[in-house]
């Protein structure tokens, strides 16, 4: 049975999973979930993910939520085809991939998602304006993280070494949205980070997924 992904292409977290599926040349069915109509808060959805968030993956009897757990599962299940996203054949290299994946989750994501939340989600909710103080505070945090990346990417082509892995992939959707804001300079002004980003955007899997990332941030 084909894997099902619940969610919409414009969701960054859903896109993370779609990127992984394309890198692994794996068939899937996308089942839309109408977030604007709050279908992710209905009991039928909550029975799949009690936290009421997309994406959710169904693979036969397995139901999985949390996009990074989903990408890790897909990468492991299909480790023998498509791009080697985990370096599973060497335990130390695999650990380095995990390390930089955790960096994305713990250092990069909180800062960048806070900015995207203010500049995309808040305006869509219609009631408030973006909070400039939150944007400012998180841009500062993001700059520090990107300084570490600039240094790291001076030594290796990708974050976990010389090939593209989940550690890089997990960054893509939020960065794509971030580059549409007026703060793209944080990436553009760091040559190694910029080169890395351009490379990530040239991948065939990215070119299949990016057209779905249609939300426009406010220019703030």
């Amino acid at each position: 049975m084909v894997m099902k992904v619940y969610g919409d292409e414009m969701s960054a977290c859903v896109a993370r999973v779609l990127l992984c599926l394309h890198e692994k040349d794996t068939e899937f069915e996308l089942v839309p979930v109408n977030l604007f109509a709050c279908h992710h808060k209905l009991p039928s959805f909550l029975s799949m993910n009690p936290f009421g968030q997309v994406p959710v993956l169904q693979d036969d009897d397995l139901t999985l939520f949390e996009s990074r757990a989903i990408t890790a599962y897909i990468a492991e299940k299909h480790k023998d085809k498509g791009t080697d996203l985990t370096r599973h054949e060497d335990s130390k290299e695999a650990a380095i991939v995990k390390q930089w994946s955790e960096v994305e989750a713990h250092h990069f994501n909180p800062a960048i998602s806070a900015v995207i939340h203010q500049l995309i989600v808040v305006p869509l909710q219609g009631e408030k304006s973006p909070d400039a103080a939150i944007v400012e505070e998180n841009l500062e945090k993001l700059e520090k993280v990107l300084d570490v990346y600039e240094e790291r990417l001076g030594k290796t082509k990708y974050l976990a070494g010389d090939s593209y892995t989940l550690a890089d992939l997990n960054h893509v959707p939020y960065t794509y949205y971030f580059m549409k804001t007026s703060h793209a300079g944080l990436v553009n002004d760091r040559p190694k980070v910029k080169a890395w980003w351009d490379d990530l955007c040239s991948r065939p899997a990215f070119l299949k997924v990016s057209p779905g990332l249609t939300v426009i941030p406010v220019t703030n």
Binding site: L64, E66, K98, E102, V103, A105
Partner: protein, 261 residues
């Protein structure tokens, strides 16, 4: 030190957040060689921010860091996974091989990262770290934190009604990562926080089972031993909790400093 709290029966050098005063008076290795691992101090204020630490160990200037031969690894969830893999044939099997079972463990580790830990860390920061640092607790933030924690624990209560541990019938990395922050929440003076846990029978049973595990008891004893060594050598008054991957370790040491000054 966070690594002690989470890992057992490992055989490498582990950098921990134990205070390291003047190098001419101390050797680098404080703490017992317990079983097969060694604890190395990386100190508090500024040690994890030195050029040497940043360029050789962790560019984010945080502990824990694990060294195994030429591998240097930071980020505790990467470290625990690596050790669970390397030692899967001994001790508790924290990470089974089956991809579907493993994915459930990953999922609950992500829930810890994205849902549980942000709320727990804020509460620990407001209720323990800030008072220690002489800063005012933001009680609005505490109240919001308790409400969010309550919602999250409702989900855990349902989950732990389906199986004794988060990912199924046995204790795994998914449960292990929750234990240190839960311990610190319980260490606060806040009855309401304790009640959030103990008023939920499945969550309470899960916490009590984890706390009674021999490995946890060993880790706590080792940490207390190390803190005692630190005590007798006079601790610094300054504590930089940004060194720590989570605030939980800073808090425990802070309590010792307060008790001795």
């Amino acid at each position: 030190m966070e690594l002690h709290l989470r890992m057992f029966h490992t055989g490498f050098l582990v950098y921990s957040s134990v205070f390291k005063p003047r190098p001419d008076r101390w050797s680098d290795q404080v703490g017992p060689r317990t079983g097969t691992f060694l604890v190395r101090s990386a100190g508090f204020k500024n040690i994890a921010k030195t050029k040497s630490f940043l360029s050789n160990l962790n560019p984010f200037g945080q502990v824990p860091v694990l060294e195994d031969g030429d591998l240097k690894l930071f980020e505790s969830k990467a470290i625990t996974r690596y050790l669970a893999e390397q030692y899967k044939d001994q001790g508790t099997n924290l990470l089974p091989d089956d991809p579907k079972k493993r994915s459930i463990i990953s999922m609950w580790m992500e829930v810890d990262t994205n849902q549980f830990l942000p709320v727990a860390s804020t509460l620990i920061k407001e209720l323990i770290i800030k008072p220690y640092q002489g800063l005012a607790t933001d009680f609005t933030s505490v109240q919001e934190g308790k409400e969010k924690l309550s919602e999250i624990l409702n989900i855990y209560e349902t989950r732990l009604g389906e199986s004794p541990y988060l990912a199924g019938e046995s204790f795994t990395l998914a449960d292990l990562h929750h234990l240190p922050p839960i311990q610190y929440l319980l260490n606060t003076e806040e009855e309401e926080l304790k009640n959030l846990i103990y008023s939920r029978p499945n969550v309470a049973a899960w916490v009590e089972k984890m706390k009674s595990r021999p490995a946890w008891l060993k880790a706590v004893a080792m940490e207390e031993h190390i803190l005692d060594l630190m005590n007798r050598r006079r601790l610094p008054k300054q504590l930089d909790s940004s060194c720590h991957e989570s605030t939980v370790v800073a808090q425990k040491t802070a309590m010792v400093v307060i008790a001795n000054n």
